[in-house]
Subunit: 251 residues, 4 copies
């Protein structure tokens, strides 16, 4: 295997596609959005990205078949713009790997003619969030106006700690290559998987790219999380009378 | 020394051998099985694998002679299939090294014409295990039926955290090369070296590959561990009256 | 992107410039001095240094535009010597990267004909410091006399733990290349951002290089820190009556 | 600078020299012996080994001159065999670096025609040691008899955790190259710098190589440590009446 190995599954024709990234991170917000788009819209697996910089492991599917650690690139046909969506279970585990995997992914985006990219994620607030604002950062100041019209908030020098990992590098390295790149970050506590923050980010993405997906799956997931949160609150208030409860939703 | 250095000791003729891996890991299950097969059957050291990605250390033998960190590949002649068995005291210590050592080991397996591989290990349950089920994961769904007939259980999306390290990569990278690859994981507490879990895994391997080894050594080891466990239970119940006891068996 | 990537912004003509480094470190002393010089004197951005060995992240500016992790090299025109000033938010994250980034930066210094360098930093004392001595270390014993005349103290074998990171390597690798190199370290508690230690280091630098900058900005920053320190002392003495206070200045 | 950079200081003529290593480690035993030999016998600095795998730092000498992290190779003329002695303040910080630095050092040893090597260190016992036995491990069983005659003890499979770092790799990689290599490990608590363990190792080395050095410096150092130990014991027995005492000897 090469240091970074792109295993092609299909080579769809895409019309000026937009590159969208949603990998695991704060509240799994970016991953929830990206997976929702891939599942709800008409999509096709384009490639799996493997790398020596990913963890040395396989995941086991529902058919007990092992899948080497990878990130997936899907082509998605929406009512609006064509998309290339990067999602999966892994990010690179070391600095050098992060840079190299991101460059390889940007090469794929360029091969399909993409010149616009959205890196999706969450921004942790440290407390339970009622209103899920979406914070933005951009590669070019000119991109802000349209994003503000779609509901994105821009706050000077926030997030204060910068944007770390794939989302940050896609914005930084993508911007250097001339991509119109934005990072959309849903506010979230940072403690729990957060489908509501994902819905807020999805709404911005749909507005920007002209499509509108069924949100039932995210709503169901949000309902499940609501229940988890109310159980956690009960546990804080006193011992739960109900015995063993399933708290495995906590990300 | 090269990044990965295969020091050949012999070049036996093998007939369509099966590659079997058992390196240190959960409950040392895989290592116990692999070493038992090497010791009980007719075997010959084929090569030592050294690597800059192994820990920078030597082990000291019973003759006080130092041996540079390595993994060993043995040729094993059984009543059934010929085997190539990978075992030893070390795995690579970094992600890139894990990928590269595994690829080098698969190269050796291919040189001997192997096209089938079994990665052996344990799966931690977090509690003392009475019935040692063997859980499986495969590179190809078609492999499951024969394994189920040999007593392997397949559970959807388990182990939930995936399979990490050499076993996982041999399955993932081996599968990509076209090996018929399976990982056999004995259920074990995860706290102790577990010869009983090893016996359960060995039984599956013997059934699949048509051989039958004396198990006395594993039984003796299991008896020792039984004693350790009962002492631990006594210690939980109260101070042991017997003074200093040897608990060094805990892995 | 290359392993180390110098993105040129301008190519000023400099007359026998002195290379000055102030990156994040103990008390942010070096960074405070370097940024103060860049802001108060007539300066121009020469290059941004990016590297795979920097953290995989962007910082977000006051215009919400993302900037890939980098260190900046500025040309500074003072009343005395011309300067090349290295500052920024990041150091390399691994040993090999530290060596390689430092070598690349020294290449830039040599391209501009610099043969003298000052690495600026803090030396932690573990307690609040009243008198901010400046401790020195040099690449060549002949450099000590002029520095002592400018107020630098030389203490045998101090700092005892050596000088770690960019400052240490610029001194060590710069000295090997024939630079006249000195490290100037302001004594500081090590617990807080320390503008007073920065003023002490700046004073030595000005004396050595023949310029004299307005220090109001550092004085203001020092006043802010004074307030932080007095609040911390109140907190030690008892619960603060004033409710939530802003202690975000603590570096 | 290259990945590993040998800076030559002299090229002495040596007659069939023996390579001796004493770098920082358990109880600093190896380093104490190696430095004692270099200081007490007639010695000359041959080379400094620098490497990207060493920590990114300089040490500061008694003249405030910085010295880039390095290990030193000295030629030593004794009444017995000629020696090449490797000592210094640093070992490589990562696995790959450990292997590569060791190979580079063995290249130097071979350039001078050395075919015999002694790696010196300590073996931790976890308790204060009265009798400082010297434990041995070898590259070849034939080496044991002469070492036993010189007072070395060989204990089956000890040290149980193997020998880690430079000493281990010099033994392992040196043995692979055909060196007659031995590791001599003085028993020591592991908590303190241990000049007495160093004396025990030195005695073996002198016996093997036919020289006899003044030991006053090690005796003085041992007396200092005795005092430290007795103060520590007093502290265990109750609060010291004497106020602040200097415990900086603890390594």
């Amino acid at each position: 295997m090469d240091e970074i190995d792109i295993a092609w599954e299909s080579e769809p024709e895409l019309d000026d596609p937009v590159f969208v990234e949603g990998l695991p991170g704060v509240g799994h917000v970016g991953k929830l959005v990206a997976e929702h788009v891939v599942e709800e819209a008409d999509s096709e697996l384009v490639a799996r990205v493997h790398s020596e910089h990913f963890p040395p492991q396989v995941t086991v599917g529902d058919d007990s078949v092992a899948e080497l650690a990878n990130a997936e690139i899907h082509a998605v046909d929406t009512a609006g713009r064509d998309l290339l969506v990067l999602t999966g279970n892994h990010q690179a585990q070391d600095n050098v790997g992060h840079y190299r995997v991101t460059e390889a992914v940007l090469d794929v985006a360029e091969e399909f003619g993409a010149s616009e990219l959205y890196a999706l994620g969450g921004v942790p607030t440290g407390e339970l969030v009622e209103e899920h604002d979406v914070i933005g950062a951009v590669s070019d100041e000119d991109l802000k106006e349209r994003l503000e019209d779609a509901g994105v908030e821009f706050r000077s020098e926030e997030p204060a700690g910068g944007i770390v990992g794939s989302s940050g590098l896609l914005l930084g390295l993508g911007g250097r290559r001339g991509f119109d790149a934005a990072c959309l970050m849903g506010e979230t506590s940072g403690y729990l998987v957060d489908p509501k923050a994902a819905k807020a980010v999805l709404a911005v993405l749909e507005e920007m790219l002209g499509f509108d997906l069924d949100e039932e799956a995210l709503d169901d997931r949000a309902d499940e999380m609501e229940e988890v949160v109310s159980r956690l609150r009960e546990m804080e208030d006193g011992p739960s009378p109900g015995g063993e409860e399933d708290l495995r939703y906590i990300g």
